[in-house]
């Protein structure tokens, strides 16, 4: 009987020790993403996850000797999902803005891309002529920087339709329900196949990445504010990957221009 008690106590202590070690141990890092967001994150035809951020994330996890687990989550619930502990970080092209920084802790920025206006092929639009835009229907993805930009600068001029996913925006642009859309430029160019001769879409403005209070200082990984040590590990890993050429190698696979920060 005494042996039993001892054994029990020993098992319990071991169990508790393992438990407390696990809480600080990041051998498995769960990262929230909103799919698809080509070329940053999307599924190949066989279902395999890929994209610039997926590869970069995997490289960070390798550096930290951890496993990345990718958790899918719709964009408009992605910060609440982080705070509800559904995952440990958001690595989903989230731009660093003041509003978001009040809720989450950001890593150092790891890339930056501009946004631009797009329309159906053959349509004549002059974005710089504000009066000509009056009454047009503009589609954006809900709660993105692009949504904020259009709402703030064109909100009283155009009719804004907000969608849950970027795919729905393109569907309705194709269906001629929308006159214009304002999207992240690399994502739009890759989804719209702009290089192809028979593409149905066209870019109708220059690249836009100002003003800073809307577009922020680039894209960062978001963590819960109390997970300061995890954010620091990510910063360290990202800095090392930018230094040793891993970052550049991944970037060159997806872009023919520089997005490094």
């Amino acid at each position: 009987m005494r042996h039993m008690t001892l054994l029990l106590a020993a098992t319990l202590t071991a169990g508790l020790a393992a438990g407390s070690a696990q809480a600080r141990d990041y051998s498995e890092i769960r990262l929230g993403i909103d799919l698809p967001y080509e070329p940053f994150m999307y599924r190949q035809p066989d279902g395999e996850l890929t994209g610039f951020e997926i590869e970069l994330g995997e490289a960070v996890c390798d550096y930290l000797e951890a496993t990345c687990v990718w958790v899918e989550q719709d964009w408009d619930g992605i910060i609440p999902g982080l705070l509800a502990r559904n995952y440990d970080g958001i690595m989903s092209s989230m731009a660093i803005t003041e509003e978001r920084a009040q809720r989450v802790l950001f890593s150092e920025p790891y890339y930056t891309t501009p946004s631009a206006w797009f329309s159906l092929q053959g349509r004549e639009v002059d974005i710089s002529d504000r009066d000509s835009l009056e009454g047009l229907v503009v589609g954006v993805q809900r709660a993105t920087l692009q949504d904020n930009y259009v709402s703030e600068l064109y909100g009283d001029l155009v009719e804004i339709r907000r969608y849950t996913s970027g795919d729905d925006v393109l569907n309705d642009l194709r269906a001629e329900r929308l006159d214009l859309t304002f999207l992240d430029a690399p994502v739009a160019e890759s989804r719209m196949d702009l290089e192809a001769e028979d593409s149905r879409f066209q870019r109708v403005s220059d690249f836009i990445n100002q003003p800073e209070h809307i577009f922020g200082q680039g894209v960062g990984v978001a963590f819960r504010p109390r997970d300061r040590d995890l954010a620091e590990r990510f910063n360290e890993a990202l800095a090392a990957l930018k230094e040793d050429g891993t970052y550049d190698a991944i970037m060159e696979r997806y872009f023919n221009y520089d997005i490094k920060l």
């Binding site: 978001r100 339709r161 969608y163 329900r177």
Partner: protein
């Protein structure tokens, strides 16, 4: 003036419920009420002849109506909405037809889906009420020499409407709640406004509890209206004291 000052004081320092976001909720309330009210009204008008046809003894009349109610009651409203909103654009040349000015907006596809859905349910509610007409009343009407149409108008429909009232009141409330899915096709109804506020401020509790309270108020208004109607129209069924 005093109310305005009180209102501003109430909102002072509140980051989420500013006059602007309350404006979104108000616009959302208007859209929800319009959508639900208009679809219920058209649905009701459609359902009366459909219910009469559905209780007809002639199978070539009743069977197609049965097929319609079966399909619309057998599939989720969300799927019907997706098919009508995103599905129609896959018909080539739909943009050139006279329907496009309507289908282009988000409101009308939602209105069509909701109307067809509620008409199907209301048809079945009325059919049940028509079938439950006491045999004696029909025999009495025949004995008076009433034609089929006159009997339908004077005897069957008035009593069937009364019998259908409690079930129809539930259908109205279900429709109000079902309208919450309209925001998936970009319509800024009450739920759409709540989703916007939620996404803008990352504040799920505030955004959704506020909208839930508005839905509750709407539901109670409908409930009281139907209770009043039942009291008036079903007075003959209450026990005499």
């Amino acid at each position: 003036m005093e109310i305005l000052a009180w209102f501003h004081e109430l909102l002072d320092g509140n980051l989420i419920f500013t006059p602007q976001t309350l404006g979104y909720y108000w616009d959302g309330l208007v859209v929800t009420v319009q959508l639900v009210f208009v679809s219920l009204l058209i649905g009701l008008v459609l359902a009366v002849p459909l219910a009469i046809g559905r209780s007809s003894g002639r199978r070539w009349i009743s069977l197609p109506i049965y097929a319609y109610t079966y399909v619309f009651r057998g599939t989720p409203l969300l799927i019907q909405l997706y098919i009508i909103y995103y599905g129609v654009v896959f018909f080539d040349g739909i943009q050139e037809t006279f329907l496009w000015p309507l289908l282009r907006e988000a409101f009308y596809p939602a209105l069509i889906a909701f109307t067809l859905n509620t008409a199907a349910y209301t048809t079945e509610i009325f059919r049940g009420a028509i079938k439950a007409t006491p045999k004696g009343e029909i025999e009495a009407a025949r004995a008076y020499g009433m034609s089929q149409a006159l009997m339908m108008r004077r005897i069957i429909l008035p009593s069937a409407f009364r019998r259908a009232l409690p079930a129809y009141g539930n259908e109205v409330i279900f429709m109000l709640h079902a309208s919450a899915i309209a925001s998936v096709v970009t319509l800024m109804d009450l739920t759409g406004a709540a989703r916007f506020v939620y996404a803008r401020f990352y504040a799920p509790f505030e955004a959704f509890i506020f909208v839930a309270v508005i839905y509750l108020c709407l539901t109670f208004t409908i409930l009281f209206f139907f209770r009043y109607l039942e009291k008036r129209l079903l007075a003959h069924l209450r026990p005499q004291s």
